[in-house]
Symmetry: C2
């Protein structure tokens, strides 16, 4: 029997292609708002090759939507065979080469017959350098081409429909995403479909983000969009149906404790994360529905504690890193380039996927080199023309090089050294830069009197915000003594400006947990996340101010409905409950060794599951009694100062 054929493409180009489609799809009040950073193109000319060996002539069929031809043992003047039909190729050991051009779409092929296209092929952008092709298990038929992202669809019913204002209001019961179809008998009937994450949004024609005017047909299948409510304005009879568009990512984690609200929050976080896990990790499904490296970096971590799906992380890193030449930071933001580089090392450490490191290293290096070219005379990150030194929306003294950016560059330099080593390339330059930076950062930014890293030295204000100090803990830049000082004088100091975004709260909660203060995260879980649920949230919001009412809770960025009500970074509890409360984390590449160090914090009882690359860890705690079980080797339980080896299949109980 023949092997299963798959569509194949130039590695990384599938992601670039779909990222380009994604970033031109955003709608906002009748305007098509497109991503505002450089988007590279996939290669339009690609050569694919495979060595075959056969005692008999072989028959193959190259399916493609592009132009091109097939060669055997390619030379300038050799025979060329046609695509999209059966061809017979000579017996013997030969190189089969398929040359494809596609100016409009992703060049890709699907080869059937005696040789099939699969992950054993190599591809080149018409140079002499061939790399393992891009390929996923999702594309195994000639008809379903990689130009359409392979989402799943399930019928979805609304939970209520009522006559409302000048039409009908459909409630789907919770935030969701997918195509909506409206049918009518009267092609002259006119409708407007108003999409809302809130009822208020559907009723505000000036500020509603997404709407579509319908007339002239009897069936309208509208594009996939985010909504909970659809308000169909118009008199004529019609029917409305919807499909849920999703990826079949499996929840491999769980968590519950004595407080049922926590389980409820956990489930809403998981659902929120599902909705944002699509071609790539999105920030939010209504706004922006774009890929942001800062948001994505947090999603990679959450992913490892919910789906442990390496593919979506790889797709997202690939889309964000784009292609050389680099003329701009990722999303234009300095910090976001650093997160992308750091994420490559974290991904490798979690999965051991060396092939991906090798594929992406030239791009990481390109981004790192771009960053280094733009440092100031001292070798510090500064805001150059076209840059956006973002860090966070918190007011911060950005009058000069800021400490948070330097710590990220220091970490990225260490990461580059490690990645270079993995690729068998020299690492000294990266290590040297990290060492030089380490001293410079401490000299320029550590303030012994304030027991903290200051924002910047340039203005003389010596202002302290939480951000760099959080990184100093998270990335293990600070010494143990410095960390203790930071905890007391910054993190637990109410006089230091509070973090106002769930985005940086995610980093802050991790830093607190690292410092043994999981209890703060747990308390915030019920008050902050629980507060959103009390407001009726069915997915976690981009932002929330306890005590705020409607409709101001829908507003952001000066836009009455500008706040995303389904935002990936809201799913952080999945990460910090799995990582710190259940306490599971790897201590060697691909979890060959891992630790289970539960911290009950304020919970009396809890139980939960954390996925491993293969298998999983179950943790149960009940009033001082801990039970840990896993089906994988390499585990070690840390509990009250004791260390206990974990045998696969043997539950470990300790008091």
């Amino acid at each position: 029997m023949n092997k299963q054929a798959r569509w194949i493409w130039y590695p990384g180009d599938f992601e670039i292609y779909h990222s380009n489609l994604l970033h031109e799809r955003r709608e906002e009040r009748g305007v098509n708002r497109i991503g505002y950073w450089v988007q590279p193109s996939n290669w339009m000319r690609v050569d694919f090759r495979k060595i075959y060996e056969s005692a008999e002539p072989i028959t193959v069929h190259v399916h493609t939507l592009g132009y091109g031809a097939v060669k055997v043992d390619p030379s300038l003047e050799g025979t060329q065979y046609p695509i999209n039909q059966d061809i017979t190729l000579p017996a013997g050991r030969h190189e089969l080469r398929v040359c494809i051009s596609d100016t409009a779409k992703l060049p890709c092929i699907y080869v059937t017959g005696d040789v099939v296209s699969d992950e054993t092929w190599a591809a080149s952008n018409t140079t002499i350098h061939f790399y393992p092709v891009g390929c996923t298990p999702a594309f195994t038929s000639a008809e379903a081409t990689p130009h359409v992202f392979p989402f799943c669809y399930a019928p979805m019913d609304y939970v209520s429909c009522e006559k409302f204002a000048n039409g009908w209001l459909y409630d789907f019961g919770k935030e969701t995403f997918g195509p909506v179809t409206l049918k009518t008998d009267d092609p002259n009937a006119e409708f407007t479909a108003w999409y809302g994450e809130s009822i208020e949004e559907t009723q505000d024609p000036d500020w509603c983000s997404i709407w579509e005017k319908l007339s002239g047909k009897t069936e309208y299948r509208m594009r996939s969009r985010a909504f909970r409510w659809i308000y169909v304005e118009g008199d004529a009879p019609h029917t409305l149906s919807a499909q849920y568009e999703y990826l079949p990512l499996e929840d491999r984690a769980d968590f519950e404790c004595e407080d049922p609200l926590v389980k409820k929050i956990w489930d809403v976080c998981a659902y929120t994360f599902h909705l944002n896990s699509r071609e790539f990790f999105l920030d939010g499904i209504k706004r922006d529905r774009w890929v942001w490296s800062g948001d994505a970096y947090q999603s990679y971590r959450i992913n490892n504690y919910l789906f442990f799906d390496p593919e979506i992380t790889k797709r997202t890193i690939t889309a964000l890193m784009g292609k050389p030449p680099y003329e701009q930071h990722i999303n234009t933001i300095n910090d976001y380039t650093m997160y992308a580089i750091i994420s490559l090392q974290e991904f490798y450490f979690a999965t051991g996927d060396l092939a991906f490191v090798k594929q992406m290293f030239p791009r990481a290096k390109g981004l790192y080199d771009f960053t280094v070219e733009r440092l100031d005379a001292d070798g510090l990150v500064v805001e150059q023309p076209g840059d956006w030194v973002f860090m966070d929306w918190t007011p911060m003294d950005k009058a000069g090089p800021i400490s948070g950016e330097q710590i990220l560059l220091w970490k990225a330099s260490l990461v580059m050294a490690e990645l270079a080593g993995l690729c068998g390339l020299p690492a000294e330059a990266y290590t040297a830069r990290a060492e030089k930076l380490q001293n410079l950062i401490r000299e320029k930014f550590w303030d012994a009197e304030k027991h903290a890293f200051i924002d910047t030295f340039a203005s003389g204000k010596r202002n302290v915000t939480r951000h760099a100090n959080i990184f100093a803990i998270l990335y293990d830049f600070a010494t143990a003594e410095e960390k203790a000082e930071i905890l007391e004088h910054v993190l637990l100091n109410p006089e230091i400006t509070q973090i106002t975004t769930p985005y940086f709260k995610f980093f802050e909660l991790q830093a607190l947990c690292e410092m043994g203060r999981l209890d703060i995260a747990q308390a915030m879980l019920t008050s902050y996340w629980g507060g959103m649920l009390e407001m009726g949230a069915t997915t976690i919001w981009e932002e929330f101010f306890p005590g705020e009412g409607k409709p101001e809770c829908f507003a952001m960025y000066g836009d009455r409905f500008g706040r995303s009500l389904c935002h990936a970074w809201g799913s952080g509890p999945i990460y910090f409950l799995g990582r710190y409360c259940l306490g599971v984390y790897p201590t060697d590449v691909a979890y060959k060794k891992f630790v289970v160090a539960p911290q009950p914090g304020i919970y009396k009882r809890f139980k939960g599951t954390v996925p491993l690359p293969q298998g999983e860890v179950h943790v149960m705690y009940d009033n001082g009694k801990l039970t840990v079980e896993t089906d994988q080797p390499g585990g070690e339980v840390h509990w009250h100062g004791g260390v206990y080896a974990l045998e696969p299949g043997c539950p470990l109980c300790v008091e």
Copy 2:
């Protein structure tokens, strides 16, 4: 009245877009044979901007096939206005910004209303760097978008149609190019249209390059192709019609002498050149119908003596130079990268178009840097993996660095120094490399005993071919003494292997003319070019061996009809008659000063016209009496050692 709007795009991307389409279009015996080198993509995300000032609010309409939006005084969160509809924008002085994404086609816009799109706009690939937009007078209506290259069409009749073999043979009287339409009343009728540059090609189903099988319809408009004969195989009644597809380039030159054959050759050369002057300068219209930098370099020179159309030269240089990052030589060939760089300087010298130099300099620098990175330890050009050190098909000792490549690099270095200077950039590195190379080339390759530059020193064979020695004259590398030695011991030496391609013959004839031996070129004109006409050529061939018969005169590259019978480089006589016989050439940028130095050679009488950027020069010679006239200032006649100023409008007569 409003100004005329034009479609605009990112500079250089129109050329890249159409080059990509062109290079996937070649057909060969039912196979779609595509260009085998790296083709970069146009940018898919482009921002366009224009400052406007108005006391009243303005109305504009942005036409585009892409996605996107309009902003005023762009900021991250400002209002966005829709495309493809009238929009009203605020009064005052503002930046109008149009942000367009198009993953499938060239992103471009056409803005009408109170502000129109034209050459005064700037574009960016979403970075902070804006450049003058790409724009041509050809696209001035919303409907005719830049995605279709603006060719002209004229009905074209066949001169005969006869029943032939199993169908009908249509003869269009001469080689031509365009779409052919076949109509029939019977949709079940089956036809095959066989395209031939010769009758023999239409009758050889195994080797005919281009054919199309037709059935199932009553009208078939076939794509534009090269042909003289169409053999319609099939019994059913039908009608055939064709259109000539062309650019309306004006012949601004002419030449005739006492031999009517010369005028006939001149006309056939001009027609050949017209057929090959399309989106870009092609090598040939049937095979390859690609853009080759070596062929194109010769076409730039011919262009200046026939159309003097700067636009097609700019398009061709732009398409060939592509975009960084550079991973490969142009067309994969080392020498071809050098020609592209040199052509930029020659174009500037002929036209004074500094804006084009500034647009292309970063690309020329990218190609030069790529070349320099691949030199050997001595700083000499060698064949690195993926390179093709071509030079010519002549057997040549390529066992090490070859002299012709070094002279090209030397010349390209001088050119880079000049271009850098024009762009206000440092030139020292280029000059230094040229100086170092000059000494190294003379030391390593000049053979005083052979009075010539040898191919290479590496093998010890010290073989001499014509190529490097021709370049040493053409690019003024050799001293006057060396040139005289080369003329005697190489060019006029029958023991040195003859050039076998019209391609390098073009360079050789120029070198001979430079050395005062126009007579050789003139003799070859009647024997070689005249010989083709005797064989029935209606356009000039890629190759010709006097004395050969049919059908072997159609063969090349092991392909029975592989020889192109309409090849641009065959039009060289236009250049050498204008440049050396009429003797017109610039001595200052953009012909601000020019020389007319006629050389009768073997002709008793001749007259002709050579175009200048504006205006023209007429030269008439009759048995020792010379008359020169021009409508432009700056001219100077050189004749028998005398120098005569040329006044516009005043014919100058000298004996």
